[in-house]
């Protein structure tokens, strides 16, 4: 099972400095937060899809298609009840749906999808170590960054062990699929205990291995990875900043919002 999204391609996007990618994603989040008009949001979402195509990240979009579709659908169905607009289309007691709230809902769905899309592009093009390294270059202390990246790294390992444990207990007649919620909760003990013990053993071994290879979180160290901010990085950052400021400007002038107060 592979839960990592990194796709080992060689595109201009992959070659960007991780710092650029981290800041870039934050700026893209910002742009998606500015508007709440479905047309503007659709534009942003389309832009992200094109970007994903350029970064060869579309396979991951396909892998995550259900999540993306669910986000849009749920948001479109639920949001109208929580946002109020002037043009009422339908009402029942305290519940009402307006033209504006419906459009807002679609925009929100697209916004969530855009967040996920931006994140997906980032994870598809950035390895765990590059991400960590980017964080360190952005002045995050090394021990924090290392803990963060190791935690990320251990997820698939534990997921793999978890899958084995489930199979082992099923072979002994554990039936996780039947029973009421309390009975089911009780059935997680045979799964949780071995996993917990596995995790403790595993991390202990890892700690020993790290120390044996001279790891000392407080001490100075060098890096094999050596990303450099190049002209392309500055260009991308400048473009994204301009995009963000432009979006902010438009929005403050009253464009791109169906419900201006939200």
């Amino acid at each position: 099972m592979n839960i990592f999204l990194y796709l080992d391609e060689d595109t201009w996007f992959h070659r960007l400095d991780p710092r650029t990618k981290i800041i870039g994603v934050v700026l893209l989040f910002g742009v998606a937060l500015v508007f709440n008009h479905p047309l503007y949001m659709a534009g942003i979402a389309l832009g992200l899809v094109l970007l994903a195509a350029a970064a060869k990240a579309l396979p991951n979009f396909w892998r995550m298609r259900y999540i993306l579709i669910l986000l849009v659908v749920f948001s479109t169905v639920l949001w109208p009840f929580f946002a109020e607009g002037p043009t009422v289309l339908w009402s029942w007691g305290p519940l009402e749906v307006s033209r504006e709230s419906l459009m807002y809902a679609i925009a929100m769905g697209l916004r969530l999808a855009s967040f996920v899309a931006a994140g997906l592009i980032f994870l598809s093009t950035t390895t765990n170590e590059e991400f960590t390294h980017g964080l360190i270059r952005l002045k995050l202390p090394y021990p924090v960054a290392f803990a963060f990246s190791t935690a990320l790294r251990l997820v698939p390992t534990f997921a793999g062990a978890g899958a084995t444990i489930v199979q082992a207990q099923i072979s002994r007649g554990l039936d996780v699929e039947s029973g009421n919620i309390f009975q089911r909760a009780g059935k997680f003990i045979p799964l949780a205990v071995p996993l917990f013990i596995y995790a403790v053993r595993h991390t202990n071994m890892l700690a020993m291995a790290l120390e044996s290879k001279g790891f000392n979180p407080g001490a100075k160290r060098t890096w094999y990875l050596n990303p450099q901010m190049r002209r392309a990085d500055y260009l991308v950052l400048a473009l994204l900043t301009a995009l963000f400021l432009g979006a902010l400007f438009l929005r403050l002038r009253g464009y791109g919002a169906v419900l201006p107060r939200l």
Partner: protein, 559 residues
């Protein structure tokens, strides 16, 4: 040549351990630079602790009572931090999976040199050099998780070698590997020797020790013998008392009173020819047929494809298993052994074809019921042990099946008796030894009284003594009428205990037949990169049809 390692009267007792028994007692030893030492001994003999004592994990990481002096290349270990020692001693831990944590092979190797604050071009050079050294140069960009066991272990070795320590210590580097992986790692060890590096390896297999400069034999925290392999490996009672498997060629020669102490099959053949001890004959394999018994499990033309992979894990597999058989499935990792076994109890459903239990499709049998038909013991007992007492652990499947307390009590007692753990009911399973935990896992599957019992690698990670007693227990189960199926990398286990051997390669069955006949086909086995155990290699040459030492001895006496 200087002294690489010097140990003077080292004793160590772990703090916070279950027992206050010292893990190491008055260890003395000296290793010359550029020599190769193999440490052997039973589980809990202190081999790992001694490894840790060489790079300061003992006493820095593991606290405890520490007396004596260990000096490695002029540095007293007791006074150094682990990170400092890493420049002098490289340690490859037993569990290679837990040591790899990077997302690419090259970054894994880069980690150590980064800690040493080496400049980038030097790190680059070391990645190149050591990946080439262990034969992984083509894999630089790969994810460590996607490598095979042998490749992972070689990567773990490269990542330690990249620190360029003059001494390399490897704690059971081949235990969890298939025969190919084992071969790969031992080849790396060989190259290291040629480079005149000091090498210490912990291993269970006497074949590894044959080339060593020194063997250190450990028992209960002490070194009981230290010397060249020809002296240590021929002292059979001593080896036995340390829970170490004696070389079968030596055992054979001693049993027959033949002159010489051959450590390898080649030496044995040379000695037999030289002294004219026996005449080779063509091998005649006795045909013991099990065809009369009813078929209990049937695999009909099964294909299987894992959802995330494109390759067929099984393709066109046909297998008939008869009631009361003892079968060993052998083959390399990724050959489909475990995938096949998981079909037998319905954990996996065939992509094409059908698996039948007494003529009934396994896919239609309910989970809770299958545990009573086909029991499956996973490789690592720690993947299933969860309960606070052995009683609760073993009774788990019965409780799941909704049996009453009295029946559970009886069945648990019975299962524990079979595995030799009567009286352990109230013990906490986590505190037992690995061999005992393995037995608890077997008992917990046995308690459901399945007709068929499948065991994935039942002897991996156990020392020789525990391997023997585990297999004797399975033999007893088999005598009681159970159908026993084991998946194993250990050829001597398959040869000595199984009636029938199924060899798998690339998702297909390459060879299937009575054990002796299967092991006679050395060429076919070689296709699956397998080799018969030494005793049978010699037996194939001599034309003996026995599978165990006693049988072969008897046969040769009768000639």
């Amino acid at each position: 040549m200087g002294v690489a390692i010097s140990i003077q009267d080292l004793s160590f007792t772990y703090a916070y351990a279950e027992t206050s028994r010292p893990a190491l007692r008055h260890i003395n030893g000296e290793v010359e630079e550029g020599t190769f030492v193999v440490m052997m001994g039973h589980e809990g003999a202190g081999k790992s602790t001694l490894c840790y004592a060489l790079n300061a994990l003992v006493p820095r990481f593991f606290r405890g009572e520490y007396t004596g002096r260990v000096v490695v290349h002029g540095q007293e270990v007791g006074k150094a931090r682990v990170a400092e020692m890493s420049r002098r001693v490289g340690l490859v831990l037993q569990d290679f999976e837990a040591q790899l944590f990077s997302t690419s092979v090259e970054l894994e190797v880069a980690f150590g040199p980064e800690n040493l604050c080496l400049p980038r071009d030097e790190i680059e050079r070391r990645i190149d050099r050591y990946l080439r050294f262990v034969g992984l140069a083509e894999m630089r960009r790969r994810e460590p998780a996607s490598l095979s066991g042998g490749q992972k272990q070689r990567l773990a070795i490269a990542s330690v070698l990249a620190l360029e320590p003059p001494v390399l210590v490897m704690d059971e580097p081949t235990t969890d590997l298939d025969p190919i992986g084992r071969e790969e790692v031992l080849t790396v060890a060989d190259t290291l020797r040629q480079e005149q590096r000091t090498l210490l390896i912990v291993d269970h297999d006497p074949e590894t020790g044959v080339d060593a400069d020194q063997i250190w034999l450990m028992r209960d925290g002490e070194i009981v013998a230290q010397g060249p392999p020809r002296r240590v490996l021929t002292d059979l009672p001593l080896l036995e008392s340390c829970g170490v498997q004696p070389p079968s060629t030596v055992a054979l020669f001693q049993a027959l009173g033949w002159p010489g102490q051959p450590l390898t099959v080649e030496e044995a053949i040379a000695a037999i020819q030289e002294h004219g001890l026996a005449q080779p004959r063509p091998l005649q394999v006795p045909t013991a047929s099990t065809d009369g018994r009813p078929v209990i499990l049937e695999v009909c033309d099964v294909d299987f494809v894992y959802p995330t992979r494109a390759v067929k894990a099984l393709s066109g597999v046909n297998l008939e298993i008869r009631e009361g058989e003892f079968i060993a499935i052998v083959g390399q990792n990724g050959s489909g052994k475990t995938t096949l076994a998981k079909h037998l109890n319905g954990l996996l459903k065939p992509t094409r074809g059908e698996v039948l239990f007494r003529g009934r499709p396994v896919r239609e049998i309910r989970r809770t019921e299958i545990a009573r038909c086909v029991g499956y013991v996973f490789q690592n007992p720690d993947h299933q042990i969860f309960a606070g007492t052995v009683r609760e652990e073993v009774g788990f499947s019965l409780k799941m099946a909704g049996m009453d307390a009295k029946t559970i009590e009886e069945r648990v007692a019975e299962a524990l008796e079979v595995v030799g753990l009567s009286g352990y009911e109230e013990e906490v399973p986590f505190t037992l030894t690995k061999g005992e935990r393995q037995r608890v896992a077997v008992a917990s599957v046995l308690a459901a009284q399945p007709q068929v019992i499948i065991l994935d690698e039942p002897t991996t990670g156990l020392d020789y003594r525990h391997q023997r007693s585990m297999m004797e227990m399975l033999r007893a189960l088999h005598r009681r009428g159970h159908t026993v199926i084991i998946i194993t990398h250990s050829m001597w286990v398959a040869a000595e205990y199984a009636e029938r051997v199924v060899v798998m390669k690339d998702g297909r069955i390459l060879l299937d037949g009575p054990a002796r006949a299967a092991f006679a086909q050395e060429e076919t086995l070689a296709e699956a990169a397998l080799r018969p155990p030494p005793l049978l290699r010699l037996g194939n040459w001599l034309g003996t049809s026995g599978l165990t030492l006693d049988d072969v001895v008897e046969e040769l006496r009768a000639r």
